[in-house]
């Protein structure tokens, strides 16, 4: 290989932006849920069923925004189910999340086989070049020639930070996740805030699914996400429950994945299994080094009940 050409570099970083998009939506959504004290492990299932919903609506109506709305609403419904089981009924969150995952995976596969049957593609969101900025060499093609959903994912990072750190709502979410008894005593509805956070996170996970099926891949198939929802949950831990940390994690993970894909495109001789394995190994290493660096929300994974310490 005769060095890496600028075009390949642009390719690697553009792919990174695209790959990071579903992770950002899903992981930022999960950040809200976990900040309120609820681990939603069903993100992958939500992404799957929402990805199908978006794909199917676009297939029927050819309206991308309607597809996106459908994905968010289906995500919301799944979030509501998760909230009922994990917040109201106080289920063990790790277990109920796996149930939600299996439900989403089974339903999406079932509906796909019955309603669509064969592999079909849709015309998804196209790249939108931002005037002037997209002409900047190198930075332009990487940052400013993406689809709307990619821009949205990256804008969601400062927005999530702002909501969590600078608004009363964010303060309430964090209070409920840190010390629910104290939050309850000053009149904050602990379960209400948790319902809101889980549902918000689930709706964002729905958009993450849509970003796969109607923006990046423009198709649906069984197990389309291939576990990306679980990696998104891992990114929340890695990012220390902070939107900027999540961004760093998503970019790091995606750039490794992107390099791996480009190495295969360029015919670099490494077994594909090793290349595919790499991001998962990286996630475990990242989890290991990031653990204990930031303290997790004190009430994470603990259902709230009045009168218990």
């Amino acid at each position: 290989m005769s060095g890496i050409s600028p075009d390949v570099m642009i390719g690697i970083f553009s792919t990174m932006m695209a790959l990071a998009t579903p992770f950002l939506y899903a992981a930022l959504g999960e950040t809200f849920a976990q900040r309120s004290g609820v681990v939603n492990l069903g993100v992958d299932g939500i992404m799957l069923i929402s990805a199908f919903a978006a794909f199917y609506v676009v297939l029927l109506t050819n309206n991308l925004w309607l597809g996106l709305l459908a994905a968010a609403l289906v995500g919301l419904a799944m979030g509501l189910l998760m909230s009922v089981v994990s917040v109201s009924l106080k289920a063990e969150q790790g277990v109920s999340g796996i149930g939600l995952y299996m439900l989403g995976m089974g339903l999406s596969s079932l509906l796909f086989k019955v309603l669509v049957g064969t592999v079909k593609t849709v015309q998804g969101f196209r790249g939108v070049a931002i005037p002037v900025l997209s002409d900047i060499p190198f930075i332009g093609p990487v940052l400013f020639r993406n689809s709307v959903l990619v821009y949205g994912a990256f804008l969601l990072v400062p927005l999530s930070y702002f909501v969590l750190e600078k608004t009363t709502l964010g303060l309430k979410i964090k209070a409920v996740g840190q010390n629910p008894a104290a939050a309850d005593s000053v009149g904050i509805s602990v379960n209400g805030i948790r319902y809101f956070s889980v549902c918000l996170g689930a709706a964002l996970a729905g958009i993450a699914g849509a970003s796969l099926s109607i923006s990046l891949l423009n198709l649906f198939q069984d197990n389309l996400t291939a576990g990306q929802g679980f990696i998104a949950v891992a990114l929340v831990y890695f990012g220390g429950w902070n939107p900027w940390g999540v961004l760093v994690g998503a970019l790091l993970f995606s750039v490794v994945n992107s390099i791996q894909l480009w190495m295969q495109v360029l015919g670099v001789k490494i077994p594909s299994a090793v290349a595919v394995m790499l991001p998962y190994v990286l996630t475990i290493v990242a989890l290991t080094v990031s653990v204990n660096r930031v303290r997790q929300p004190a009430a994470l994974n603990k259902p709230f009940e009045r009168g218990e310490s």
Binding site: G45, S96, L100, L103, G106, G227, I231, A273, M277
Partner: protein
């Protein structure tokens, strides 16, 4: 939470008589979960414009309607029983092992490689050897997340899910390399499968003309052994104590991290054993779909069995039948078997959502019994004086 979960050895030992209330709660709730899931299944079938009665009839016929169906249900119950036994141990220590899939793969890899490496060794050495190798490989794959959780507090749910993906790629790597079937290479098919194992490594058939093999008996023995391990040994008691109340366990001198790592390692070992049994009992070679989703279904079976190895036995047979029946249903009424995956998810949601009420009811009952007993004791003492 702690008030409900506090451990009290006296209570455990004083309750020597069969606790019918606990049995009813632990059986009735999972049963209700299944009923609810089946009912939601009816709604889904109606929405899909399929006849629910025809679908469920096909399901039942497929599972128990013929000798082959019945034995096939037991064949599928076997790995569920092994994986589920491990899940019982891990979940009892409050260690959430989602890594069954990866642990099955590692066990199957070891259980394939050993017989292929020693094709001339007699079966009575080869079979136990393969089982041991598979158990060790699975245990190693469980030990990694176990020790990461115990020593570094790495979330075991996430690490096991990542290890599932890694194990899958390790298998692909080996099946595309050293373990690839030489015949596949010779014929240019390059299928993702290993060569067939030497015949003496096959498990004996229990019923001729079916796939039911001696591994089913082994699984049954393992489940019963797990019951004795968890409820009749010190190690088992400590594992359950750690799961019920880690803080109290720590104060009473139990090495909590050790038991967390141990329970995950054992769970991995049993899932690994399931992988070997699947190879030497059913497939007789390693193929890429070896796990069959048992790593996840095993969790559902264990939950449905109330995390009790003896409850797990009927739960595993039930799910084995469900998996076999689903194939028949798919052929009979053209409803994809993914319906079953969705229903499994609903069962998990229901059972996990109702467990709090079961715990609360039992705690309430225990408290009132204790009150009654102490009052009776006090009055008895009063009479003596």
């Amino acid at each position: 939470m702690l008030s409900e979960r506090s451990i009290s050895p006296e209570k455990a030992s004083s309750r020597k008589a069969v606790d019918w209330g606990a049995i009813v709660v632990n059986v009735a709730l999972p049963f209700a979960g299944v009923i609810v899931a089946l009912f939601v299944g009816v709604i889904m079938l109606l929405l899909l414009k399929a006849d629910p009665i025809a679908a469920y009839t096909a399901l039942v016929q497929g599972a128990v309607g013929s000798t082959f169906g019945l034995t096939q249900s037991l064949v599928k119950a076997t790995p569920l029983l092994l994986v589920g036994s491990g899940i019982c141990i891990a979940f009892r220590a409050n260690v959430i092992n989602i890594g069954g899939e990866g642990q099955i793969i590692m066990g199957a890899l070891a259980g394939t490689a050993l017989p292929l490496a020693f094709p001339t060794v007699p079966g009575y050495i080869l079979i136990p050897g393969a089982c041991l190798a598979g158990f060790m490989a699975g245990a190693f794959w469980g030990f990694i997340p176990g020790i990461l959780k115990a020593r570094l507090k790495v979330n075991e749910i996430l690490s096991t899910i990542m290890l599932n993906a890694i194990a899958l790629q390790v298998m692909n790597l080996l099946l595309q390399g050293p373990l690839m079937d030489p015949e596949g290479i010779a014929h240019g098919t390059f299928l993702n499968q290993s060569a067939q194992l030497p015949h003496q490594a096959y498990l004996a058939r229990l019923v001729p003309q079916t796939l039911l093999h001696t591994g089913a008996i082994l699984a049954l023995v393992v489940a019963i052994a797990c019951y004795f391990f968890l409820w009749r040994t010190g190690l088992g008691f400590n594992i359950r104590a750690v799961g019920l109340n880690p803080a109290a366990s720590r104060y009473s001198g139990i090495d909590v991290p050790f038991y967390e790592a141990l329970s995950m390692t054992l769970a991995g070992g049993l899932a690994g054993l399931a992988g070997v049994i699947e190879v030497i009992g059913v497939q007789h070679r390693l193929m890429s779909g070896i796990t069959g989703g048992y790593g996840f279904t095993g969790i559902v079976a264990a939950l449905l069995g109330s995390l009790h190895p003896l409850g797990l036995i009927p739960a595993s047979v039930f799910f084995g039948g469900l998996l076999v029946g689903a194939d028949k249903m798919q052929r009979a009424v053209q409803v994809p078997s993914s319906l079953i995956t969705a229903m499994l998810g609903l069962i998990v949601l229901f059972v996990s959502g109702s467990s709090l009420w079961a715990r609360r009811w039992m705690a309430h009952r225990d408290a009132s019994t204790a009150r009654r007993n102490s009052m009776a004791g006090a009055s008895a003492r009063g009479e003596e004086a």
